[in-house]
């Protein structure tokens, strides 16, 4: 399997870097399926008699394992390169579907946990970080665009997986989705295997010292140039800097706030707009459309905000996320009291675009602060903030909503307190982002540093005109 080695994936002279984003997209569009996993909950519940609560664990487990595996294997990913990593991710993610199919066929829920939760989660973690760090190295002149292109795919994965899964379940089940789950899992596993292997086999890494035409490492004219370093910090050293933990808090708070809406979107819009003298109730079909619309904004925000951050600077972009997000969260209960569905949808859509934008902009932020050398591994460690937010966010929203209803507050008003707490979280995030400063040079890698990988580009002065 030497074909998978890093040296066999180094781009030849004259290679066009725009061939790399489709490879990254193929992987991210595949693993983004996890956002649509809820389409299986009802059929699985009907087929196996499992509770929705027990089935909800699969998604949470997958996201938790995503963060853990990205953190644990980050160094390995940097060492072996993107091709072997993406190949491994494909095997885990697709294999997870096959194991889950066996679990469904034998009605063993633990096998579904093992397949889609644990094995799939490892595939998610490896597949998530590898293309991102590779694209950052290919697009040093536009890191925001690069990370936006890849991570947009993760948001867009649900747009494909949701209708595809429903279509397959209906076809294999003869119109009864619950009867078609096993065959659907097998089919999805094979489809995603092929799609992810396309990414693995077409991915390339740039030669050491390569740079795009006309690019120099000077950043004097770049937005937020004071925040951008041309030095490098290793992953272990990065974790000892305050900047890493401030960004950990920034990502955690931004994701927690976004999940506050994303996780409860369908229920929230129906409860906040139950119908009244001036407006009709939001139907289940319209609520499903609202969820789809949020997925679109989640995906679009990843590319647009991240690309915009190349012009605004990363720190300013996050300041916009937190300031604008706080205002919009404050407005959401008001839109409910006004009975304005359109205003509510608009506020929620912009919030979710910034939720996606936060994911896509953070690798470029890391690259600005810590350099490109270990950005994949550092990104992997930072994704633990996502795992934490995936647990805390829904608990916060669901728990607060339930406590409000238990206290006698009408369902339509039960979200007011939650939204105001989200405002508080976003203000805290704004402060954390404000405190981010350039990394102290004492943390930078020195020329004699023994921790440098053998194929490091550091110190390479080879002209890239070959």
């Amino acid at each position: 399997m030497s074909f998978l080695d890093r040296e066999h994936s180094v781009a030849p002279p004259g290679f066009n870097r725009w061939l790399v984003p489709p490879a990254a997209l193929a992987v991210h569009l595949s693993i983004g399926q996890i956002y649509a996993y809820s389409v299986f909950n009802k059929p699985l519940s009907e087929y196996g008699g499992w509770s929705l609560l027990a089935l909800g664990v699969i998604f949470q487990l997958a996201i938790a394992v995503l963060g853990a595996s990205a953190a644990i294997f980050g160094k390995w990913v940097e060492r072996v390169g993107p091709r072997r990593t993406m190949f491994t991710a494909a095997c885990f993610f697709a294999g997870g579907f096959l194991v889950a199919a066996l679990g469904v066929a034998t009605k063993q829920l633990w096998l579904v946990y093992l397949g889609n939760g644990l094995l799939g989660g490892i595939g998610l973690g490896l597949g998530y970080i590898s293309p991102v760090s590779t694209l950052i190295k290919w697009f040093p002149d536009r890191p925001g665009v690069a990370t936006g292109m890849a991570i947009m795919g993760f948001g867009g994965g649900a747009l494909i997986a949701s209708p595809l899964s429903v279509t397959l379940m209906n076809r294999f089940g003869g119109g009864v989705p619950a009867n078609g789950i096993t065959a659907t899992f097998v089919t999805l596993g094979l489809i995603y295997l092929v799609f992810m292997l396309f990414g693995a086999f077409t991915i390339r890494v740039p030669r050491p010292g390569w740079a795009p035409a006309g690019y120099t490492a000077s950043n004097a004219n770049a937005p937020g140039h004071g925040m951008i370093t041309n030095a490098n910090v290793t992953v272990d050293t990065a974790m000892r800097t305050p900047q890493f933990w401030l960004l950990f808090a920034v990502l955690f708070l931004n994701v927690t706030a976004g999940i506050g809406i994303l996780g409860q979107a369908s229920v929230m819009i129906q409860e906040m707009f139950p119908g009244g003298p001036n407006h009709a109730a939001v139907t289940a079909a319209a609520a499903a459309g609202f969820v789809g619309l949020l997925s679109l904004f989640n995906m679009g925000g990843r590319f647009l905000w991240s690309s915009l951050s190349d012009r605004l600077g990363r720190k300013t972009t996050y300041a916009v996320f937190f300031a604008l997000g706080a205002v919009l969260y404050f407005l959401i209960p008001i839109t409910g009291h006004l009975g304005s569905v359109v205003l509510f949808v608009l506020c929620a859509a912009i919030i979710i675009s910034m939720y996606g934008g936060g994911f896509a902009t953070v690798p470029a932020y890391l690259r600005d602060l810590f350099g490109t050398l270990n950005v994949g591994a550092i990104h992997g460690r930072l994704l633990l903030a996502w795992s934490a937010a995936a647990i805390v966010g829904p608990y916060l929203v669901n728990g607060l909503r339930q406590s409000q209803i238990n206290a006698g507050v009408p369902a339509a008003d039960a979200y007011d307190l939650t939204m105001h707490i989200m405002v508080g979280l976003l203000v805290l995030g704004f402060v954390c982002n404000l405190l981010v400063r350039p990394v102290d040079p004492r943390y930078h890698i020195q020329p004699t540093d023994a921790s440098l990988p053998p194929d490091s580009a550091l110190g390479a002065t080879r002209p890239s005109g070959d």
Partner: protein, 54 residues
């Protein structure tokens, strides 16, 4: 330790158009299909799903 400052960048390359188009189609067509499906599903939200006055 700073990264190398590359001043001798690659000359303009001949773009392999066919391969570029093929790769982007492989990634883009499924995504476009998903976007269309999602937009169609979202239509009830603006076509009476929430009734008058919204």
């Amino acid at each position: 330790m700073t990264q190398p400052r590359v001043t001798d960048a690659e000359p303009p390359q001949e773009v392999p158009v066919a391969r570029l188009v093929l790769f982007w189609l492989i990634a883009g067509v499924p995504l476009a299909w998903g976007v269309v499906q999602t937009v169609l599903k979202a239509l009830p939200l603006f076509t009476g799903g929430a009734g008058p006055g919204h």
